[in-house]
């Protein structure tokens, strides 16, 4: 199981770096917003792997909160990008 | 299980103190019930303390933070609801693989389309649920919802040719079908082409 976790986390790690690439490059503000959102999802996924493999049950609540509320920041930022042409 | 099943029935009323209709907390018991269940799931326990505490918390939230009543009530069809996840998973995996392959093989040269998809549904909830379902699947993403004319504008991927475009349109239609099956009114479920009955004097607006 530990091997599975290692592989999965490695894959997620690569994902995170790819996501960061988009986050840094943009070019549209929405690209960055999407990237942040996905970064959070990746972290959640990684934590879920830890929950599964290492009984990191305390993290479950963190995941719950993120799944419920993680999008609020993105929605706000997207709204701004819509409102302000120069903010994109 | 899904919170989507908690709509209260009632009628749209006169504007309340803040410009909204009166908040009839007595009609919100499905919401209270859902909150109670949520509390129990969160605690992961069915001890008396949790049960009683959950009831108190649910009532408290419902009373302190009232919501306006909604005219139409969703009907939940448990059987289809239970089958929904399986369908979703299968559909999701299939289209995800397709999109992923597109990403790996073509990347920058991917072809997409923006499609117009008319809906049968009439109520806010049904349209929203359809849009949600359609957007869940990799390959289709709802860009605009024309609520009045019941149309979705869907970004579809990959859509290299007419065949693929039609397939994507079909996917959205399937999504709506699943929504109807799960929470739709009886008349729609029986007749796959029947539109949802209009109500409340709300006509089409441009």
């Amino acid at each position: 199981m530990s091997v599975v976790a290692t592989v999965a986390l490695a894959l997620l790690g690569v994902t995170a770096v790819l996501v960061v690439h988009r986050l840094v490059r943009g070019p549209h503000a929405l690209d960055r917003i999407v990237a942040v959102e996905i970064l959070v999802t990746t972290v959640v996924a990684g934590a879920a792997v830890a929950v599964a493999v290492w009984d990191y049950t305390s993290a479950v609540l963190v995941l719950l909160v993120l799944a419920l509320l993680g999008f609020i920041g993105s929605v706000t930022a997207a709204r701004l990008a819509e409102e302000r042409e120069d903010m994109r | 299980m899904s919170p989507a099943d908690e709509q209260a029935h009632g009628t749209a009323g006169t504007p309340g103190a803040r410009g909204g209709p009166p908040r009839r907390t007595s009609r919100q018991w499905p919401l209270a019930l859902w909150l109670w269940v949520l509390w129990i799931v969160l605690w992961g326990s069915v001890s008396p303390v949790v049960l009683v505490g959950g009831a108190v918390v649910a009532l408290l939230v419902v009373v302190l933070f009232p919501l306006p009543s909604i005219a139409r009530r969703a009907r939940l069809h448990p059987l289809w609801l239970l089958m929904l996840p399986a369908h979703l998973l299968v559909g999701l995996v299939g289209s995800a693989v397709a999109v992923a392959l597109e990403a790996v093989r073509r990347g920058p040269r991917v072809r997409a389309a923006v499609l117009e998809v008319p809906l049968r549904s009439e109520s806010d909830l049904m349209i929203a649920a359809t849009a949600n379902m359609a957007s869940l699947t990799p390959g289709t993403l709802v860009l605009e919802i024309d609520r009045d004319r019941r149309r979705l504008y869907v970004h579809a991927l990959p859509a290299r040719d007419a065949r693929e475009v039609d397939r994507r349109r079909g996917e959205v239609a399937t999504a709506e079908r699943w929504v109807v099956r799960t929470i739709g009114p009886a008349e729609m479920r029986k007749d796959p082409n029947r539109r949802e009955r209009g109500y409340g004097g709300e006509g089409e607006r441009r």
């Binding site: 994902t15 999407v34 996905i38 997207a78 | 998973l89 999109v99």
Partner: protein
């Protein structure tokens, strides 16, 4: 019997975790490679979402029941929140020109929005003209 179930669950978890991670990775690849915001959103958000879902289910198979309930609750919330954000971002992306029009085979929304005197702006949105 019990051990067999245990092993099967373990195996299922392993598969789900790995598949989930792979989907996440593919989503990441899409995010980097696709040409415009909406396609990236399509690819990444959805694949990621699926990946996460698989991992959550995988985890739910292994943890004690209360936590499994919570994990499934997370999955449900994920399923209802992610599309909403997708639609909001997608709408704004289209409105703000973050869609590469030339990659579209069809753009029926543009047809609908075209001024009334435009040749293929059919009343009632029935136009099926092909874009470039």
């Amino acid at each position: 019997m019990n051990g067999l179930v245990q092993t099967a669950l373990e195996a299922a978890t392993a598969v789900l975790l790995l598949c989930g991670a792979v989907f996440c990775l593919l989503g990441g690849v899409g995010l980097v490679r696709f040409p415009d915001t909406v396609t990236r959103l399509q690819a990444a958000a959805k694949a990621q979402n699926l990946g996460l879902l698989l991992i959550l289910i995988g985890a739910a198979l292994r943890v004690p029941l209360p936590y499994a309930g919570l994990l499934l609750l997370i999955a449900v919330f994920q399923l209802i929140t992610v599309p909403v954000l997708g639609q909001i971002v997608g709408r704004i992306a289209y409105r703000t020109g973050a869609v590469e029009r030339h990659t579209l085979t069809v753009d029926e929304l543009a047809e609908r929005l075209a001024p009334p005197d435009a040749p293929d702006a059919g009343e009632g949105g029935g136009g099926r003209g092909r874009g470039t």
